[in-house]
């Protein structure tokens, strides 16, 4: 059943040119980060790690959450216009499946974005000539993967917002506000309790220290918890609403 829904979602994404946005934002953040690194090479002397702090700061703190919000708004807007919810909810698929299909589709897109970002990062490193002097940090793969896991929590919540709110822009606006709330919580040490600050922690944006086993455990538990909560809220809204 999930496969059927996914197939349908996939067809809907055709011709939508959403991939353009998916490509532009990471490129942009990598460019800015790289430029910043390039101009401040005198201070940033920790090779790949320094480069990561620069590129991931803009990407992980700001563009990735926004990108997720835009993606989620987009897949929900498809249903909000022309009363398409009528058709989807009258199809012989269960409501949770419809929601999960959207989570998976956005999740897959974002996974591709993460990989793309990794490629950009490596390219930037090579252009800066880092491969000659430093060995490539293996943690990067962990950051990318954990970043993706944390993205899933944001996806679940944004999809819930976007199914509730018909407007395209409002969920994105909320996400911008949430970015700052997340930053605040991270700074005050409550980072594990908010999806956006989990992202900061998971991607090693502000601190490249590797996480302890306990922190990893908390991270995983919180991810699962948030994804479940977000999905539950979204599904509850879909089952309840008289659309």
């Amino acid at each position: 059943m999930l496969l059927r829904c996914l197939g349908a979602e996939w067809v809907k994404l055709r011709r939508s040119r959403i991939w353009l946005v998916l490509l532009v934002l990471p490129v942009f953040s990598a460019l800015i980060g790289f430029a910043n690194y390039w101009m401040n090479q005198a201070i940033l002397q920790n090779g790949w790690y320094s480069l990561w702090t620069q590129v991931s700061l803009f990407y992980g703190e700001f563009f990735l959450p926004i990108l997720i919000a835009i993606c989620c708004s987009f897949v929900c807007r498809l249903e909000h216009v022309n009363r398409n919810w009528n058709v989807i909810l009258a199809a012989p698929v269960s409501t949770p499946t419809i929601f999960f299909a959207k989570v998976v589709v956005v999740g897959v897109l974002l996974f591709a974005v993460q990989l793309f970002f990794l490629v950009l990062y490596i390219c930037a490193g090579f252009i800066a000539g880092l491969h000659a002097h430093f060995s490539f940090p293996p943690e990067v793969f962990g950051w990318i993967m954990r970043g993706w896991l944390a993205s899933l929590t944001i996806i679940a919540f944004q999809l819930w917002l976007s199914t509730r709110i018909q407007s395209f822009a409002v969920p994105v606006g909320i996400s911008v506000c949430a970015v700052f709330v997340g930053l605040g919580l991270y700074v005050s040490g409550l980072g594990m309790f908010f999806p956006l600050s989990i992202l900061t922690i998971g991607m090693g944006v502000l601190s490249q220290e590797s996480l302890s086993l306990g922190e990893l455990g908390t991270f995983a538990v919180m991810c699962v918890l948030f994804v479940t909560t977000g999905c539950a809220l979204g599904i509850r809204h879909l089952t309840r609403a008289g659309l």
């Binding site: 349908a8 067809v11 011709r15 022309n82 009528n86 698929v93 008289g242």
Partner: protein, 303 residues
């Protein structure tokens, strides 16, 4: 005949206002059931409750003899629907829209071709739906509803936005669905003329209440013909008739009576002549469906 849809005391309340109140629908297998009512009478809400798009406040729905809330997916997999304005993804072509539904319902390719052919959209299937005319979007909606050749088709105002030729075409299509594909059709409209030509059964809803339900013939029988009499002296004739325990009303210089069989007409005629009143005319007026409908829904309920 098997009943395909049965609702019991189906009600939907928004705040304190009932938009649908204690509706008991019964749609038999192989029927084309016309669901008729003025705008805002509760048609769409009722249909949405049949599909689970709106949760009933009270009452229950059973389809194919099964309780809807417990067998939702099974029922939906054998039901096709077009609710309110047609739904579509504007940035995709007609064919791609069909593909979305095809994936959702898991039906073979040939069904897609066939459904597009039925509504005559094969030629425009590669055009973006944003560029379709309203009529074409409506046809696409019908094609989506028929895609999996369901046992039950629910169509909400399917001829909205179609030109007269298109309306005729869709009408023929709807009429052919029961015998050609063994489908049962539930069709809603606010136009009596549209329903009366295709429906075998009819339900009239107004103000959220089901005012009438039955076959087309029953509806016509329901309103007995009136006998209109014109006499030399209507006032005097009226007194004579009142002595016979009839209660005629005066309208436009005629005495109007209800519930008159052949014998009663002959008797009254004889009685009037015996009383020395000449009878000029005796006419039987049958109510048109239009006026039946109006008398059921009240004149203010626009058609």
């Amino acid at each position: 005949m098997n009943t395909v849809i049965r609702t019991e005391n189906l009600s939907k309340r928004y705040g304190v206002v009932y938009s649908v109140q204690r509706v008991n629908l019964a749609v038999g297998e192989g029927e084309v059931y016309g669901f008729l009512g003025p705008n805002g009478a509760g048609k769409s809400t009722t249909l949405k409750m049949l599909l689970g798009l709106v949760k009933p406040s009270e009452g229950s729905v059973s389809v194919f003899g099964k309780d809807f809330s417990r067998n939702r997916l099974e029922i939906l997999s054998q039901t096709g629907s077009l609710i309110e304005a047609p739904s579509y993804y504007g940035h995709l072509t007609g064919l791609e829209n069909m593909r979305v539904m095809q994936r959702l319902r898991d039906v073979p390719d040939k069904h897609v071709e066939k459904a597009l052919q039925i509504v005559r959209l094969e030629k425009q299937k590669n055009k973006k739906v944003d560029q379709y005319s309203l009529g074409m979007k409506q046809r696409l909606g019908i094609a989506m509803a028929l895609l999996h050749f369901p046992k039950l088709v629910i169509l909400d105002e399917p001829t909205n936005g179609l030109d007269p030729a298109g309306i005729g075409e869709i009408r023929e299509l709807i009429q052919s669905l029961p015998h050609e594909y063994g489908m049962t059709v539930l069709l809603s409209s606010h136009l009596l003329s549209e329903i009366e030509q295709v429906a075998t059964s009819i339900g009239i809803i107004h103000g959220g209440k089901l005012l009438f339900q039955g076959s087309m013939e029953q509806l016509q029988r329901n309103s007995q013909p009136h006998v209109w009499m014109k006499t030399q002296d209507n006032e005097k004739a009226r007194r004579v008739l009142q002595e016979m325990e009839l209660s005629p009303s005066l309208q436009d210089g005629f005495l109007v009576m209800e519930g008159m069989g052949d014998r009663e007409v002959a008797q009254t005629n004889r009685a009037l002549i015996m009383a020395g009143i000449d009878v000029y005319r005796i006419e039987e007026h049958k109510k048109s469906l239009e006026s039946i409908f109006l008398s059921l829904t009240g004149k203010e309920g626009s058609l």
